[in-house]
Amino acid sequence: MRERVVANLSVLPLHGQGSASVTWWGTLAFMLIEGTGFALILAIYFYLADTAPEWPLGAPSPDLGPGSATTAILIASLLPNYLILRWAAQEQLTKVRIGLVVMLLFGIAPLVVRIFEFPALHASWDTNAYGSITWTLLGLHTTHLITDLVDTLVLAALIFTRHGRNKRRLGDVEDNALYWYFVVVTWLPIYGVLYWGPRL
């Protein structure tokens, strides 16, 4: 079939930013998948709590200390996360580099506290169904934290190399920051259910 040129697109940018980037949409889609997974696991929690004669099963309510500390750290991390999004949008490379290092620390801190969270549940994964579901919820969110930490680590290493001077990398930084929001936002209902649910 013959072709008839009706438009010239040479003026378009060589890389889409924000919602014009396919990675941005891919990140959203993966959040939807993981969000559905977390919602289902919370549903299992409520299902098991509903069928159980008492809840928590054969254990006192979990200690509030370590979980609340994690929550505080994650909420505090929202500020540097917000700043890094802004710096990336403004293409301020030096500030982005510093910001990524700060975010690395905010990635490690909740993992350290997490070590104390598991014993604070007062039930092991193989004690009963209560232990199983609480360990799974906490374990899954821990996996979330670890994968994001590795992701941030690789990105931080990359941003200090010659590859850092590239709009595409700043787009990656934005997607990574977007994902961190998701990590924090999914934690809040998990925190509420795990620590405050048994107290209601």
Partner: protein
């Protein structure tokens, strides 16, 4: 602050016609040789191997079905023992659902959707390559297990407690759960690619009301996958945790619950039916206008019907659990919603009939398959309404009536349209056409063989023959009907055999097909058959839902793209306004390496949970290798 350019940009508008194709061919090519083949990210090559692999699994699953029919052909037969029979029906179901039906529909979409929306590659092409490799690995693992006599034997839905640590000894149920861990991420990855391709990579001007109906169906299907498949991943993870590390999700004695498994499984399992059926709807909606030589009757009604079916499919799962004694009110709700879903499906059927009625139908093989679909699917739909009612379902639950019903909807509703779609798109895939004469024989054999095989099963179910039994006594009086069914299955098998023979033979001896042999209206026919690596020399510009029927002389296109880097158009979601000239990734071996590392981790974890820890290190290394920039023009911004 753009990176230093390694190569100079070569705008397509500066190149003469022949030179442009040469330059694009260099930029988008998959190098010859084994390494090139393993590293390709071309959606057409990945899609083609996906389709071929899925059909190999269909063939294998069909052989298992024939073996089961041979065993059931007469009472108290000793061909297959109970233990092997359990493995056979579990393998047949799991293979057909997880290794054939869902992957083959996604596979066709991987090939066709990017062409239909007028782009040069699927979104996230490396993820696409990865998804194929882990799908292949999961399939090989499952079939190797059968060869080692350790295939799953707990039914394709692996109900607890049968599949739990107490009854499911050995590794059989773990193989089932881990097969899920391979195939579902693979399906989820393709779903994400389809969503982003359909929403963000459409040709300029292809607004939401101009998307072809197959793309609409795949978009809705992909959302179903994204929202339903996490349920089976969560369920199988909980099962494997119960089995390997001693959690108690499904252990009644320690506060777990067995019905929890059924809720999770069917929350996935019912949308799963529509994950298989909706792509078929899209295929039918594509085939009918082409062979009726007119646009589809009420496009909007069909789009809304597909969306409505997708939403309603999440409100049906409990109708698989009517026999478990749930509260009456809940059962009534799920009966009502099971009947409600017949409404959008009915609308679709009438829109298709109206399109044929007002058109000048050409009865070529693809359309004949659609007609076979109509008859078969309507019968399956009617028995579906029957089993949606609690008293009837309680009577026929776990009998051959249900076996008949779901084969009518799955084979009639999805496999017939799929075979029609293969006849329809084969010229695009291969550049040659399949045989029209063979095609007519295949439709006849498959349609007649299918109905003779499965219709009598309704009767068998009504007189009480249960599913999943390896034999039955002579005095039950089921012998002659079963013999009739087994013989009829041979007719059905002959039809499929002829289909495979024709598909293979036509690749070498079929008549050469032009770019648009059916005079169809959608964009995949605007390029040569098979399409070049870059799909379109210029990205098409679209002005209606039937772009190739607007102007049969010339295709409106856009210029101004760089031919020296892999470049495509990212456009806005609603109106498909061009937003950026985005790059598309180069070929890479890393998706394969990541899949190999993932496979090692998943298979080892069947034997020790610690494999998840040490196995994740090579996976992480491979993923880092995958994403580390290689300094190609595609990395520029």
């Amino acid at each position: 602050m753009s990176g230093a350019r390694d190569t100079a940009a070569v705008l397509d508008s500066d190149l003469a016609a022949g030179a442009l194709e040469r330059q694009l061919g260099v930029t988008w090519r998959t190098p010859a040789g084994v390494l090139g083949w393993l590293a390709t990210v071309d959606h057409k090559m990945v899609g083609r191997r996906y389709i071929v692999t899925a059909f190999v699994f269909l063939l294998l699953g069909g052989l298992l079905a024939l073996l089961m029919r041979a065993q059931l052909a007469r009472p108290e037969n000793r061909l297959v023992g109970p233990d092997l029979y359990n493995q056979l029906f579990t393998m047949h179901g799991a293979n057909m659902m997880f290794l054939f039906a869902v992957p083959v529909m996604e596979a066709v979409a991987v090939y066709i959707v990017p062409l239909m929306v007028g782009t040069r590659n699927i979104a996230f092409p490396r993820l696409n390559a990865f998804s194929y490799w882990i799908y292949l690995a999961g399939g090989i693992m499952l079939w190797s297990a059968l060869a080692l006599d350790m295939a799953p034997d707990v039914g394709w839905f692996a109900y607890v407690p049968l599949s739990g640590p107490q009854y499911g000894s050995g590794k059989r149920a773990d193989i089932w759960a881990q097969m899920i861990t391979f195939t579902e991420p693979s399906a989820l990855a393709v779903a994400v690619e389809i969503v982003v391709t359909a929403l963000k990579q459409r040709a300029p001007g292809m607004s939401l009301d101009r998307i072809s109906l197959f793309v609409w169906s795949m978009l809705v299907t992909s959302f179903l996958i994204i929202l339903a498949m996490p349920a089976i991943v969560v369920a199988s993870t909980a099962l494997i945790l119960d089995r390997l590390v001693g959690t108690h999700f499904f252990n009644l004695a320690e506060g777990g619950d067995v019905l929890l498994w059924q809720h999770l499984f069917w929350f996935f399992g019912h949308p799963e039916v529509y994950i298989i059926f909706l792509p078929a709807v899209g295929m039918i909606s594509t085939i009918i206008p082409t062979f009726a030589s007119r646009p589809i009757f009420v496009y909007l009604a069909l789009v809304l019907a597909v969306i409505a079916t997708g939403i309603l499919s999440f409100g049906l799962w409990v109708h698989h659990m009517f026999a478990t004694g749930l509260p009456r009110l809940g059962e009534s709700f799920f009966t009502a919603s099971s009947m409600a879903i017949a409404v959008p499906n009915g609308i679709q059927i009438f829109c298709w009939l109206a399109t044929l009625w007002h058109g000048r139908p050409i009865f070529a093989t693809p359309l004949l398959f659609v007609l076979a679909f109509f008859v078969t699917f309507v019968i399956g739909g009617l028995t579906g309404i029957m089993v949606a009612s609690v008293p009837l379902d309680t009577q026929v639950h776990d009998t051959y009536f249900v076996v008949a019903h779901f084969h009518y909807v799955l084979i009639g509703g999805a496999v017939f349209p799929l075979m029609g779609a293969i006849y329809y798109w084969y010229p695009k895939f291969v550049g040659r056409s399949m045989s029209e004469r063979c095609g007519r024989w295949i439709v006849a054999l498959v349609f007649i063989g299918f109905n003779l095989t499965f219709f009598p099963m309704h009767w068998l179910g009504l007189v009480g023959m249960p599913r999943r039994i390896y034999t039955y006594q002579t005095d039950m009086g089921w012998g002659s009907t079963n013999l009739f069914i087994s013989l009829s299955a041979l007719i059905l098998a002959a039809g499929f055999l002829l289909f495979f023979v024709d598909a293979i033979r036509s690749a070498w001896y079929g008549p050469i097909a032009g770019a648009n042999p059916w005079d169809a209206a959608t964009l995949e026919w605007a390029t040569s058959s098979p399409p070049p690596s870059y799909n379109f020399a210029h990205i098409p510009v679209v002005g209606s839902a039937n772009p190739l029927w607007d102007d049969r002389e010339a295709l409106p296109v856009a210029a101004g793209l760089d031919a020296a880097r892999r470049e495509l158009i990212v456009s806005s979601v609603a109106e498909a306004r061009p937003e950026a000239r985005e790059s598309s990734p180069q070929n890479s071996i890393w998706p394969l390496l990541t899949a190999v590392a993932t496979t090692m981790m998943l298979i080892s974890s069947i034997f020790t949970p610690w494999a998840v820890i040490w196995g994740s290190i090579p996976v992480a290394a491979a993923v880092i290798g995958w994403f580390w920039p290689k300094g190609t023009p595609e990395d520029e911004a």
